[in-house]
Amino acid sequence: MLIRRNRFLESDEREVTDPAFYLHRRELMIGAGLAAGAVLLPGCSRAEEASQPGAARGVSSPGGFRTDEEQTPFEKASSYNNFYEFGSDKEDPKNDSGAFVPKPWSVAIEGEVAKPGSVALEDLVQPRAEQERIYRMRCVEAWSMVIPWRGVPLAEVLARFEPTSRARYVAFTTVLRPEQMPGQRRDVLDWPYVEGLRIDEAMHPLTLLATGMYGRDLPNQNGAPLRLVVPWKYGFKGIKSIVKIRLQETPPATTWNQAAPREYGFYANVNPEVDHPRWTQKRERRIGDFSKRKTLMFNGYGDQVAALYSGMDLAVNF
């Protein structure tokens, strides 16, 4: 019992001294700017915000950039996750990612951009431009976490490469290194892992290219050194260890959709009304909680993103 109490004290202390908090002010300024803009947008009215159950439960900063819900301990977030490149059990990524070498790293930006090229990670995501975002993360398997990420909005990165008018989708590719990623030696999925977003989703201010979490660099098991975070979509959209970003006119293939088209769609927006064919998506268990909680539409980011899908049948475009 004594040991357990000590652990609790440690984790409290870590939360207080989390070095990532120094970016708070910048976040609030961006959030305030966006909120001001949101007032002018249809579908983002105050009345709708009030009707969102998420607004009552977890107070978010205006743009949805930071929830003040209790954060999942780093130990859990870094030891219980899906990263099939390192194995299909949720402890595998932590246990079997030790041989992975995330540095040096470069990313190829290709396709419908005026300035394509291969860029070193430090130039792609400049450390001083990084922000902290505290997002809910909802896995398609009906569990969830709250994770403080460090990164830059994808929109800022893409803008530098000057997307052309034909850039309607963004395709991402994970590194292929079977010698360092034991999961890639078996064809459970079609390697390398690929994911994609519509351009407006990619340019949304919530969409983050992350290089860190909990105030430190991404651990190998969480997608070092560069991953995508799209908080209103199921976790598998957050492609890890990205080596290629391609802008294109046609919808890109996505790995889980190819593996099981009936179960995983291209959009993969968190939606309690559309069940996974084999299990319900109405509820989720927040890691650390005893009972499940209700899953929120768009993972509680409806105020920010619902307008992206207005007029779409989300049961068809799941």
Binding site: R4, K76, S79, Y80, Y84, S88, K90, E91, E141, W143, V188, L189, A259, A260, R278, W279, T280, K282, R283, R285, I287, G288, F290, S291, K292
Partner: protein, 209 residues
């Protein structure tokens, strides 16, 4: 006396996974989703013990291990105990406060439907596992207890259908079940394979299907 000690040892061994689970829970070492962890562990041990139960008769016949016979019921009841814990963990803890979803789950989710069916098959087998019931039912006891095959197939399907993509592990269990079926078929078609026909006959008192 020795047989009693062995019997106690089998029961103790069968309860070890439960003790290990309890110890991990007490030390706070369960996975990040403790209820899912307990559900998975009790479920996997229910299936393992069920397959062990089904292995008793073929092993006895093929290798003349007549001494195994008395443990079949013990293994079966252990399997049933784990299956009960598995169902209770899911129905009480996993669905905590949202019990209305139980009916929907059982009706709408094929892997839960077959899992629940497997459990229902095991209930009458557990109830009629006593000597008194064996005597009372006579030949019909053998017929009734063929339900164990249905339970085993449903149990394997339950595992296979709940896995997201990597079906290696559930396929191993399905493979073992298939091998056990093959062994029984072989024994039925070619009785000469039985290493100890005598042992088989004497054991048929405890009514082997």
């Amino acid at each position: 006396m020795r047989r009693r000690a062995l019997h106690a040892a089998v029961i103790a061994a069968g309860l070890l996974p439960l003790a290990w689970l309890a110890l991990r829970a007490w030390r706070g070492e369960l996975e990040a989703e403790p209820i899912k962890d307990v559900t998975h562990q009790t479920g996997i041990w229910a299936l393992r013990l069920l397959l062990a139960t089904l292995a008793v008769t073929p092993l006895r016949s093929l290798f003349g291990l007549a001494a195994l016979a008395p443990y079949r019921r013990t293994l079966g009841l252990l399997a049933f105990s784990y299956a009960t814990l598995h169902l209770l963990t899911y129905a009480l803890l996993d669905l905590w406060g949202a019990w209305d979803t139980l009916v929907e789950d059982v009706l709408k989710r094929p892997y839960i439907t077959v899992g629940f069916a497997a459990f229902l098959c095991l209930v009458p087998l557990a109830i009629t596992s006593t000597r008194a019931w064996i005597r009372r039912l006579g030949k019909r006891w053998v017929q009734l207890h063929r339900l164990v095959y249905v339970a085993a197939v449903a149990g394997c399907l339950h595992f296979l259908w709940l896995v997201k993509k990597d079906v290696r592990e559930p396929l191993i269990y399905s493979g073992i079940l298939a091998a056990l079926f093959a062994a029984r078929l072989l024994l039925r078609l070619r009785p000469g394979f039985a290493a100890a026909t005598k042992a088989r006959k004497s054991a048929s008192l405890s009514a082997s299907p």
